[in-house]
Amino acid sequence: MARTLINVPPKAKKGEVIAIKTLISHEMETGYRHDNVGKAIPRDIISLFVCTYNGLEVFRAELFPAIAANPFISFYTVATASGTFEFKWTGDNGFSATESVNITVE
């Protein structure tokens, strides 16, 4: 699976707005480049990123080739209860990566 790096605070207070940072290794080949003999290099990007928190979708992003390689996405969410964040990236050529991180909310 592609290497991912997620930053979620391990602990938070109920109601606190926390920052989540995500990084995944992926070339995000735009489809607009050509190789050294002039042949077009086909598009190969991550096109969707979804984050669910204890099963509830809290963030969704549709990505286009304009998103830089090794996509970095950071967003905010309200810490409601202890549990699990699930992150899922999907894209061209059947690309799929998932990661989950736990959080303790007091």
Partner: protein, 263 residues
């Protein structure tokens, strides 16, 4: 003019030639306290990308390197961790290139990793500039982050330092350019809209936005050398390692930033 007058004139001209050459040579090198890392030439957003481990794309390579470090490979079925058990690699990257007695010359960190792979792990060497080797050198390099660059210059390494220095100051290629002309003399200026840095290798291997990838110092040197329209050296060439040694010595005591981010 009498012979005596001609003699005095000749001596005067010679003295002037020596003095001006000396002055030029002295003026060329950047004073130690005026050295700046490439970090200082970047905008705040790119600096923030480097400083935040969660946002630094190089972190992906560091974590891949950590996984490689623990993986058993080769007919010896050993991982790096097996030999270096509990031993931190802190300070290691800051002192490479280092002298290798068996080879009678300095080797850089990538070469040392491959020496370990072939001689200790009995595994095939990793391709230079390949993802796994860069991941390992990123992982090792990260552990020296913040430490002063400190390559050893002694009677064994000095000849190679001088060879690297000669390359740095030599005018070469179609443009008859020397590295020093940009990086010693014109680092306050811009080239095609981009700032000319002082060329200190303070963060290798680093994530270069241009490459959209992590790359080694040798990759960067090859880019520069081909940009100067000079016959290039292949990856791993001794001339490149000599130049790496000189550049690291030139950057001595500057803190290592691996994995850095550069435009």
């Amino acid at each position: 003019m009498t012979p005596a007058e001609r003699c005095i004139l000749a001596i005067g001209a010679l003295a002037w030639a020596i003095a001006s050459t000396l002055l030029v040579a002295l003026a060329a090198e950047i004073p130690l306290n005026e050295r700046k890392s490439g970090y200082e030439f970047m905008g705040p957003e790119t600096r923030a990308m480097q400083d935040d481990d969660s946002a630094n794309p190089g972190s992906l390579w560091v974590f891949d390197g950590e996984a490689s470090w623990k993986r058993k490979v080769g007919t010896a079925n050993k991982s790096c961790a097996d030999c270096h058990a509990g031993e931190s690699m802190k300070g290691v990257a800051a002192r490479y290139p280092a002298f290798n007695a068996a080879r009678g010359r300095p080797v850089n960190l990538d070469q040392q990793i491959n020496i370990c792979r072939t001689e200790r792990q009995q595994a095939t060497p990793l391709p230079l500039e390949g993802k796994e080797l860069l991941a390992l050198s990123s992982y090792v390099g990260r552990q020296s982050r913040g430490m002063p660059i400190a390559v050893t210059i002694d009677e064994r390494t000095r000849p190679f330092l001088e060879a690297g220095r000669a390359t740095f100051y030599r005018r070469q290629g179609q443009l008859n350019f020397a590295c020093a002309q940009c990086h010693d003399d014109n680092w306050k200026e811009k080239l095609a809209g981009a700032p000319i840095t002082q060329a200190h290798p303070t963060g290798y291997p680093l994530y270069r936005l241009e490459w959209q990838n992590v790359g080694s110092l040798q990759r960067r040197l090859r880019n520069c050398i081909s940009g100067m329209r000079v016959d290039n050296y292949p990856l791993g060439a001794p001339e490149l390692v000599d130049l790496e040694l000189f550049l690291m010595w030139r950057a001595r005591s500057m803190p290592l930033e691996t994995p850095a981010v550069r435009p």
